[in-house]
Amino acid sequence: MTAVASALRERVGGLLWFWSIGAFRRTLPWLFLAGLAVFILGPLLSLILWAFAGQWFYPALLPDEFSLKWWPVVFGNRSVVASIQNSLVTAPVVTLLSAVICLPAAYAFARFQFPGRRALLLSFLSANSFPKIGLYISIATLFYRLHLMTTYWGVVLIQLVGTLLFMIWIPAGTFRGINRSLEEAARDVGASGLRTFFQITLPIAMPGLLVAGLFAFLAAFDEAQGTLIVGSPNYITMPVMMYTLVLNYPQPVGAVFSILLTLPSLVLLLLAQRLLRQGYLAAGYTL
């Protein structure tokens, strides 16, 4: 090994002379970080520029003129505003419904041993492991018979599919992480099973459940394929409207709408961060 290494150093070492300079090696991580930042933030920056650009033609590095003129265009469009309203009344309901359905299931997965437990748990992954479009189309044929197509509840149900994974897997992990003796201690001092769940288990699990809720909300909010198939043309949400805007309107309109679409995620993320940081669990409770 050492012979090979020294031979290699002899041949290639001359080319990589700068490797021995400490300053170079120290700046390397920063260069990498900067590259990453450009890769992630670059497109976002361009999006923001487009949203506030009045005119922007090819060779110019920056827009020729800045303007807010495309914003009234977006907010003035009735169907666009309707899509925003639709999104805002669908995603929260989907999240809540998902929580109501999934949290008891997650608790059962975490705490009880029953036949078929693993298979059931994996089955919630399966919805995400196949191309969704095929699943949605077969669900759509079912929805036709049930008269759920182009209805509010049809859209809610189809968006629910994408949230199941988050609302079961993350809370199940959270519940499993809560030591049983915390619950047993509550039973021991006189709390019933239900009271123990609501006053002990649920509050302790809250940070994990909030994260799950956040993911579920974003999954519902950003869902486009299923909503397009089930909801259109009567029930259009923001991500579906995005297709129309990108295809039929000037570029800045799509950019403005993109920013609107990002806002809820951004607000929720900041909110969750605050909540989690204030949380007692972040304080590192150990014994």
Binding site: S181, A186, R187, G190, A191, Y280, G284, L287
Partner: protein, 369 residues
Amino acid sequence: MADLRLVHLSKQFAAAAAVHDFSLDVSEGELMCLLGPSGCGKTTTLRMIGGFITPDAGDILIDGTSVLRQPPERRPTAMVFQRFNLWPHMTVTDNIAFGLRLRRLSPSTIERKVTETLALVGLPGAGGKWPHQLSGGEQQRVAVARALVLEPKILLLDEPFSNLDARLRVRMREELKILQRQVGITTVFVTHDQEEALTLADRIAVMNKGVVQQVDTPSALYRRPQALFVADFIGAMNFVQTQYSRARGAFVSGGVGVAASGNWTDGQAVTMAFRPEDVMFVEGDSGVPGQVRRVVNLGHYLEITVDCPGLGAIKVFADGQHPATDGQHLSVFFRRILLYADGTSVTEIETPRLSRLPPADALQNSASF
């Protein structure tokens, strides 16, 4: 104040430690310790008393009344767990007051009781703190306070100090003992640490593989272990396998014989057990000759390993007044020997009479077996 009776308690598991036909009486105000290696069923027993496991058979009586049908929240027992005791989303006060609030006591009564109990466990003024702001020892003290504040009839402790460091464990042990005396509460304590059991308990129930081996006071348990398992588990003990020789009227191992009275079958296998502190060094011919293999200084005493032909390696505790050096030749003698056949105690011999066969005889003797 109450007494606790376990009657033929049994529990079978696929995986966890089982308990077979466990009967035990804990009298009022007594501190009973369940001691045994991990997997012996001691925690299973405690959890059955607390109501977290339903026994397959048998009964649990508190003050003569069966509590078997009551769920944990209805039983007059309070449990302190090994770890993860305190609810992290509540302050110390809220942790202690949780059970009181469930009982719908008035806020002023709750406040008074919480303050009193915190003072009792030596943490006055800690009420406003959060569990993560407390040290491990303080957390366990709050856990004890939370259990005591409800004035249960039986206090159950499941290895409550096993996650604390050695020094703190010793201190908490003493504090618990004082507290238990002061409150006078009937207590069942589970531990795998024999030192903890010996220092804390009024009586100890030694368990192995789900079966009670012996229930006795610490001193009786140490002095007269009824089972070979107990002899091995409690304290340090030397074991020598011997066989009875009718011709010599003694238990023989190698060339060494220990005279025994009574009627024994020729060739019966018996395990001879003696404590390292029951071995003395003697001058001259009266003992068994041996050679010092190793001397370990353990501070207040020396642990000396002596190779005795016929008996094997023997551990001896000696004080510093009889210094020994590696390789030194000496003779050992026994103050007291316990005899076990088929795992249970048969008899004990005080200052046994030793006999020694010359090497040739020893050969002949072993050939005749």
